[in-house]
């Protein structure tokens, strides 16, 4: 079991308030991703749950039990760090066995659990190596192995993939998702990469300046962002915003249109502009367009579109795919 509840959790460092007050429920077995720009407090929030930082005010419950003042080791949580934080002086086997040793398990039991975890993570051939002799991806697996042997109530991941190269990151993303399906244990995952959030999460928590902007499933956030910040943060490339007259026509201060929701025309449309750069990927074409008013727009068109630098084109938002925001940035 591993449900986590945060009640009015606040955190300040000296006089600086980094988390002004957060309420959040994480259900048992859920994969929750905290996402937001750097400095938004997502890592701090995770470290508060872990017990590596004191909460200034509020309560943290795990399975209904108040752990607000419990030591990290008493919370039955396992954490995977950004730097992997492997013990460089221990073999892979000893690294994975360390939490079991600390828990006072017998040597035989330790061996059995390490073997099992190594099997799951394809680490068996590397058990007697030192972390320094492993590749980035392998180190990441050892860190995960060290987390899973404890059979914790929940896993905490602090930007675990940010030190890996792009290709490996995609692989590990899939592996972690599969691991979640297999173990069905609660996972709380911190990232600044919205693609990771969209692909892995059951539930995304979008944070900005220590506040929760919106909580919801990936598609909820994609389809109905609560405000301009979430709308701009979720989706890749980012949503385009147009203000002024074009927005006023829709009765809003600003309208947002995702790059994939534009219709292109060379003859007529709602807005006209000039193509700056056209990126032809074969599967998609990305156009960086400067509207006549000066607003830059990114357009993603499926397949190959024969448009080039300097062309004049018309853009029209698809019906029902226009997001309207008021002057405060809230969705209308």
């Amino acid at each position: 079991m591993g449900s986590i509840t945060l009640r009015r959790v606040r955190k300040s460092f000296d006089t600086v308030e980094v988390i002004p007050g957060v309420d959040l429920d994480i259900a048992d077995g859920e994969f929750v991703v905290f996402v937001g720009p750097s400095g938004c407090g997502k890592s701090t929030l995770l470290r508060l749950i872990a017990g590596l930082e004191d909460v200034t005010d509020g309560q943290i419950l795990i399975d209904g039990q108040d752990v607000t003042h419990a030591a990290p080791s008493k919370r039955r949580l396992a954490m995977v760090f950004q730097s992997y934080a492997l013990y460089p002086h221990m073999s892979v086997r000893k690294n994975i066995a360390f939490p079991l040793k600390m828990a006072g398990l017998s040597a035989a039991e330790q061996d059995a659990r390490v073997a099992q975890a190594a099997g799951i993570l394809n680490l068996t051939p590397y058990l007697d190596r030192r972390p320094g002799q492993l590749s980035g991806g392998q180190r990441q697996r050892v860190a995960i192995g060290r987390a899973i042997v404890r059979e914790p109530a929940a896993f905490l991941f602090d930007e675990p993939l940010s030190n890996l190269d792009a290709a490996l990151r995609v692989n590990m993303r899939v592996e972690i998702s599969q691991l979640h399906k297999k173990l069905a244990t609660t996972m709380v995952y911190v990232t600044h990469d919205q693609v990771e959030a969209m692909t892995m999460a059951d539930k995304i928590v979008v944070l900005q300046a220590g506040r929760i902007e919106q909580v919801g499933s990936p598609l909820d956030l994609y389809n109905s962002p609560a405000n301009r910040f979430v709308a701009g943060f979720i989706g890749s490339p980012n949503m385009n915003f147009v203000e002024g007259e074009a927005a006023a026509r829709h009765g809003a201060h600003a309208i947002g249109v995702r790059p994939e929701h534009w219709q292109l025309s060379t003859t007529a449309g709602a807005l006209q502009g000039t193509v700056g750069v056209a990126e032809h990927l074969g599967s998609d074409t990305f156009l960086h367009v400067g509207l006549d008013g000066g607003t830059p727009i990114v357009v993603r068109a499926a397949g190959e579109v024969p448009v080039h630098h300097g062309d004049r084109i018309w853009l029209t938002p698809q019906d029902g795919r226009i997001y309207r925001f008021d002057a405060q940035g809230l969705a209308l």
Binding site: F13, L52, E53, D54
Partner: protein, 289 residues
């Protein structure tokens, strides 16, 4: 960043170091300051009395003080010039592609590990001695009159001995700094058409500026307190020709038993050292960031 419990524990663990150093610094220094206002001689106990700034007046107007101050500055300055100048050249030389670089390094660094009393006595007897020293033999070899270095050039001789001890330090630090110079930077400069001299003045020297400052400041701290080398070679003489401040205070206190006067001298030495220290602290403070 951590939990409250850990922070409390952490403060507790710093406490012994802080308290010990505080005691080590404040208590004796306060006592020295107190003695410096007293007429206090160990040879006539029971006659201690407060005499205000008299000790300072005597100490500062004593020709020995001015001789010692000049000698201190000459000693520090002379050794710095030799060790920094020689250190830069030697470090550049060792940094060249040469055979046996490791062994050269080991030979050059060795004098730094020799205890001051040993190096002073070895130089005094086996090299500088006008009868049996190697330098005397060399002089006779070329038909010159052997020189009694410690009698005729006492301060210069001591500067030589101390420079021999500290040249390795400067060389080692500058060499370490040279080896950390980014080779891509040098390659970029070459692509930009820089010749050997241009690379030296525009890349190497600016790169060495910081380690040179560190060497100067750290050596200064140690050189202000040179003591054993003087004690075992010249005893500060002839006259006051090789007496530095440290040695003068020592002789006032433990040879003439004038606690009051020696204390005033000690305070003067502390003030001088502090002027140097301020610069050093600023320098090192920056490395913390």
């Amino acid at each position: 960043m951590a939990t409250r419990h850990q922070r409390g524990l952490a403060r507790l663990m710093v406490a012994p170091s802080v308290l010990l150093l505080l005691g080590w610094m404040i208590v004796p220094l306060a006592m020295t300051l107190w003695f410096s206002f007293q007429s206090y001689n160990l040879l006539s106990p029971g006659t201690e009395q407060f005499i205000g700034l008299m000790n300072y007046r005597f100490f500062l107007s004593d020709p020995a003080f001015w001789a010692a101050l000049t000698n201190t500055l000459l000693l520090v300055g002379g050794v710095l010039v030799i060790t920094v100048g020689g250190g830069v050249l030697l470090a550049l030389l060792i940094d060249q592609p040469i055979w046996g670089q490791g062994i050269v390094r080991i030979l050059v660094i060795a004098p730094f590990f020799i205890m001051p009393t040993v190096s002073a006595l070895v130089w005094k007897n086996m090299f500088l001695n006008p009868v049996n020293g190697l330098f005397a033999w060399l002089a006779k070899l070329v038909g010159a009159q052997p020189v009694d270095f410690l009698a005729q050039y006492p301060l210069a001789s001591i500067i030589g001995i101390v420079a021999w001890q500290w040249l390795p330090f400067a060389t080692l630090i500058l060499l370490t700094a040279l080896q950390s110079l980014d080779s891509e930077q040098l390659e970029a400069a070459e692509m930009d058409g820089a010749g050997a001299w241009a690379k030296f003045t525009h890349l190497t020297l600016p790169h060495l500026a910081r380690p040179i400052t560190v060497v100067v400041l750290i050596e200064t701290i140690f050189l202000l307190s040179v003591f054993a080398e003087i004690l075992v070679t010249t005893n500060g003489g002839p006259g006051y020709q090789s007496t530095n401040l440290t040695y003068l205070v020592y002789s006032l206190a433990l040879l003439q038993f004038d606690v009051g006067g020696a204390s005033a001298g000690g305070i003067v030495a502390v003030i001088l050292a502090n002027i140097v220290a301020i610069f050093l602290m600023r320098m090192i403070g920056r490395t913390l960031d």
